[in-house]
């Protein structure tokens, strides 16, 4: 593989690994405090799956470059995940007792679902990658992603659709889902920010679909759901394709992130940085 291609592909794989890593960290923040005990256990498994996928991708990076990437040694701006996955939404415990309130379970569900839908399209496309180790790896992960989507779908049914025979029209939960979606759109569309040299990777068939291709497929799958649940949708149909009606917020793929990420990075690496040479 030519040097320039390998560097571009290395950055692409890193964006995959970091997406899964940070999505997994944010999902597992709800372990122990989710709205119901049953959901606490289910949602924690989803977060653990994502972190497990991140480990698999970091191992692929080793296979590609021959050098073991120690994700912990990187600075915050060397991470290439999309900003959607770094946004904080769980309440935060403080030892002195004034905890940060404002936990938003609606956003946790919406973010996870929008991300899983994106990841499902990305994985499907990567099945056709010319780099065989990646094509095989993604095929294995698709089974878990199917379950994640099913989990999200169940929750939308419960929170957005009125139960037959019950006066409650889910107004409260529908309102929260709507606000969560509107808050998520800019960063959700930011998922589709291409990594540098995407065109080169597509030409080499290492990455079979462009970010724009994935965006259209993602909107194709999201539209029927927004119809079914009568919830917001960030695009309109123009001449046979989708035009987004919300300004995407980009930067993550170039290493630019929010304060939420700096805080999470600081937490995530705090013990490791006490002695990076030690075995932990």
């Amino acid at each position: 593989m030519k040097r320039e291609v390998q560097d571009a592909f290395h950055r692409y794989l890193l964006s995959l690994a970091d997406d899964e890593l940070v999505a997994g960290y944010r999902a597992t923040e709800w372990t122990g405090i989710a709205p119901t005990l049953e959901e606490d256990v289910a949602f924690s498994s989803i977060g653990q799956d994502e972190v497990g996928h991140a480990r698999a991708y970091y191992a692929l990076l080793h296979e590609l470059t021959g050098t073991m990437v120690d994700y912990r040694a990187r600075q915050p701006d060397e991470y290439l995940h999309a900003q959607l996955v770094e946004l904080a939404c769980a309440p935060r415990y403080h030892a002195d007792g004034n905890h940060a309130a404002g936990g938003d379970w609606a956003f946790a569900l919406v973010r996870q679902y929008l991300y899983d839908l994106f990841d499902a399209e990305r994985l499907q496309a990567l099945r056709g990658s010319a780099w065989e180790p990646l094509a095989q790896q993604v095929e294995k992960m698709q089974r878990e992603e199917k379950y994640h989507l099913h989990h999200g779908q169940l929750w939308f049914d419960r929170l957005a659709l009125p139960d037959e025979g019950l006066a409650e029209d889910k107004g409260e939960s529908r309102g929260r889902l709507r606000r969560a979606l509107e808050r998520a759109w800019p960063d959700a569309l930011g998922l589709f920010e291409p990594v540098a040299n995407e065109a080169l990777l597509v030409r080499e068939r290492l990455v079979p679909a462009t970010a724009q291709d994935l965006l259209q497929r993602w909107l194709d799958r999201l539209h029927p759901l927004s119809e079914r649940y009568r919830l917001p949708f960030p695009a309109e149909r123009v001449d046979g394709s989708w035009n987004v009606t919300v300004e995407p917020r980009r930067g993550g793929r170039q290493g630019r992130h929010t304060a939420d990420w700096t805080q999470l990075w600081d937490d995530m690496t705090s013990v490791y940085r006490l002695d990076p040479t030690a075995t932990w």
Binding site: E38, V41, A42, S45, H151, L154, R158
Partner: protein, 97 residues
């Protein structure tokens, strides 16, 4: 929210075994809760959930029957049949000959 009884088996051919119960809004949610609570650590083949309210039960009170009946010469096992209440275990006793 209703109680659902959970049954599962780990390999084809084995009988499904009762593992416990979950509390959910419907069958599908109960399946998901059953998998995450009871089966997240095992490779399983099949899981059933059934609303507790739909279960009819017949119980012999054998052990304590034996003790109570020891004094009387005529030994008559008594059976209780009932529908299990959907939330807790409030059981009506109906003795069957």
């Amino acid at each position: 929210m209703r109680a659902y009884e959970v049954f599962a088996r780990f390999h084809r051919g084995e009988p499904l075994r009762h593992l416990g119960s979950v509390r959910s809004v419907d069958g599908e949610a109960a399946l998901e809760a059953a998998v995450s609570i009871y089966l997240r650590r095992d490779a399983f083949e099949r899981v059933w959930v059934v609303e507790r309210g739909g279960v009819s039960e017949m119980v012999t009170d054998e052990e304590r029957e034996k003790r109570r009946m020891a004094e009387t010469e005529y030994r008559r096992p008594s059976y209780f049949t009932r529908r299990l209440a959907s939330s807790g275990y409030r059981a009506a006793k109906l003795t069957l000959e």
